[in-house]
């Protein structure tokens, strides 16, 4: 391994695998990526995609089944102490020391890392002011709001001046104002040269904050690029989303044209309708979206997404086919290019399901 000063990468992950005992599949399955110094890199994916497990392996809390992870050129598994000196973690759930006030939490953290008393006192006061916590610095943190708790955790993470900062779902469950404040703080940290790796299932967060994003599902990285490049993955950029209620059976006048089906169930009707829409000129792909509303019991609701170079062109034919199939069109709208569309395009699933 080359020395840290020559290495342009802050984080290097190579063929990382984690399989938990008795698990049917790998929680992390042969993942490789590299994060350049000073980048904000996002791991985006639904719950259970393996994002937090990757973070665990990068931060010594999860032992990899195979593969390697380096932080600032240091093999995390081989030299945990040197690695721990170089990174900080802001976990998903609160882990603040409930017996201490915010200032003490920051100062004790710095002392664990060998920061001398005068420097840690000054740094704690500076960070508390920066994170808008100076007035409450002597309050026990168990009385803090969710946003304040998150700010203390990030401020604590900065106390030993890490080179790499790991943020696990940093703005989960925060109100919009607190979320914007934290985004601003994270950008400031990047401005100071800190490399940030964050996990999120929030599309907006990923596209707003990250220089590059790796989209994950089922323990693997599906694709990794800048937000702009990822959005180009969806053909034509814009897609057409139909919310429809399909009939129990294919109407007879339609059957006469497409031939009988062996399984006249709703699924079959939908897939045949999908085929019919897919054969329209200009439509390259029609996909059923598995939405949370359907999982919650709205069984009549089906969501189809049409991709193509110009999905507006066949719009009248689409409504004509839907009407012909006796399906009820509940909603029809254009889905603009977004990371959410990219995820749906890659997996056929909504990120929040």
């Amino acid at each position: 391994m080359s020395s840290a000063s020559e290495n342009p990468y802050a984080i290097e992950v190579c063929n990382l695998v984690k399989r938990y005992p008795k698990a049917a599949a790998n929680a992390v399955d042969d993942v490789s990526f590299a994060v350049k110094r000073g980048e904000i890199f996002g791991l985006l994916g639904p719950n259970g995609a393996g994002k937090t497990t990757i973070l665990g392996m990068l931060t010594t809390r999860v032992i990899p089944t195979s593969g390697t992870a380096h932080i600032m050129g240091i093999d995390v598994a081989r030299d945990q102490i040197a690695a721990k000196q170089r990174f900080s973690v802001v976990p998903q759930r609160t882990n603040l020391d409930l017996s201490l006030n915010a200032r003490d939490i920051l100062r004790f953290h710095a002392s664990y890392h060998g920061i001398p008393a005068a420097k840690r006192n000054a740094l704690a006061d500076q960070l508390l002011a920066e994170f808008g916590l100076a007035d409450r610095r002597k309050d026990l943190v168990k009385n803090y709001s969710g946003g304040m708790t998150q700010r203390v955790m990030i401020a604590r993470a900065m106390m030993h001046t890490p080179q790499v900062l790991f943020l696990d779902e940093p703005t989960n469950n925060l109100d919009p104002q607190a979320r914007l404040f934290l985004w601003e703080r994270i950008r400031t940290l990047q401005g100071r040269g800190i490399t940030v790796l964050l996990t999120t299932h929030d599309m907006e967060e990923a596209s707003q904050l990250c220089d590059r994003i790796a989209i994950m599902d089922h323990g693997s990285i599906l694709v990794c690029d800048t937000p702009a490049e990822l959005e180009k993955l969806v053909p034509g950029g814009t897609s057409l989303e139909l919310h429809i209620s399909v009939p129990q059976q294919v109407p007879e006048h339609v059957l006469a044209t497409i031939g009988p089906s062996e399984t006249p169930a709703e699924v079959s009707v939908l897939s045949q309708l999908q085929q019919a829409l897919g054969s329209l000129p200009g439509v390259t792909k029609v996909e059923e979206i598995h939405d949370v509303r359907k999982a919650e019991g709205q069984t009549g609701l089906s969501i189809l997404r049409l991709y193509g170079e110009d999905v507006l062109a066949p719009i009248s034919q689409v409504s004509h086919i839907v009407a012909e199939w006796n399906a009820e069109l509940l909603d029809l709208h254009l889905a603009r290019p977004s990371l959410e569309n990219v995820f749906i395009y890659l997996t056929g699933r909504n990120l929040r399901t």
């Binding site: 110094r37 000073g38 001046t161």
Partner: protein, 286 residues
């Protein structure tokens, strides 16, 4: 899969982050000391609740068995002096389990406060060892106050031989053994099993630990005498009796040989520590 390479132009960003250039031993010992300092600070800030927590049990025991019962003639006048070592032993046992096991269970299950220390530049095993050292120190402080309490409650019946170094040596070894057991139980049990600590471990320790009676007095109840050997409280109570109880009428109290009680405590310490660190490690690293 192929390695993804960044396209961002931020690679040239400057760094003001400097990793202190210290040797490994110094980095680890500094972290160990400050983690210990954190625990001592938190205990010092809640010193009164700490005293109440650790001194109520010995207070009750000493008052009833050391003052009331000899006072009304239900026990021998010499009983308080051979009962005091038992009280000290059981106080340390309870203080350890209350001080570490309960807080560790809650921490590992729900608070996760310890994560900040696990991510400090120190091996995870030493984070566990710090817990043991801290709990031993805490129990030694509780012991000092128990001696003071005994002195005040027992009055003229407070009779302890002037064997300070031996007593201190026994106490250090025994507090470490109890702290290691507390680490093991705190790591192995989940917080919904907290009742086991009280109903099983504390009760068993109290009644099979030769607290109320000497080990040699059980020679006629052989089965119980053997059971007591599986309880570290027995070895501490007997070793402390050897060191503390003055001879009655020139005849020294019959106790378990000191070498056996020291060996019992040492083996307990090493076993509990080995298993405790292993279970702790398993709990915090997956």
């Amino acid at each position: 899969m192929s390695v993804a390479t960044p396209s961002s132009a931020q690679a040239e960003a400057s760094f003001d982050t400097i990793v202190p250039a210290r040797n490994r031993f110094s980095v680890v010992s500094i972290a160990f000391w400050h983690i210990l300092r954190r625990d001592l600070t938190v205990t010092a800030r809640g010193f009164i609740p700490f005293l109440i927590q650790v001194l109520i049990t010995p207070l009750s025991l000493l008052f009833v068995f050391g003052r009331v019962m000899p006072g009304v003639g239900m026990t021998q006048q010499q009983y308080p002096s051979l009962f005091l070592p038992g009280v000290i032993a059981v106080t340390i046992f309870i203080a350890s389990l209350q001080g570490m096991s309960i807080s560790l269970m809650l921490d590992l299950d729900s608070h996760h406060e310890i994560e900040d220390r696990l991510l400090a530049p120190i091996p995870v095993n030493l984070v566990a060892l710090e817990k043991v050292v801290f709990t031993a120190i805490r129990s030694l402080v509780a012991t000092a106050f128990t001696f003071l309490e005994a002195y005040l409650i027992l009055g003229s019946r407070y009779q302890v031989q002037n064997n300070i170094l031996l007593i201190l040596g026994i106490l250090v070894l025994y507090t470490l053994a109890c702290a290691a057991l507390a680490l093991l139980l705190g790591s192995a049990l989940t917080s919904d099993k907290i009742y086991l600590l009280f109903s099983l471990f504390l009760s068993l320790a109290l009644y099979t630990g030769c607290v109320y009676y000497t080990w040699s007095s059980l020679s006629s109840i052989r089965a119980l005498q053997i059971i007591t050997l599986f309880n570290p409280v027995t070895y501490a109570a007997e070793a402390l009796r050897f060191a503390m109880v003055p001879p009655a009428g020139g005849v020294p109290l019959e106790t378990m040989p000191l070498v056996w009680s020291l060996l019992g405590m040492s083996v307990s310490f090493l076993l509990f520590l080995w298993f405790g660190v292993r279970v702790f490690r398993k709990k915090v690293i997956s």
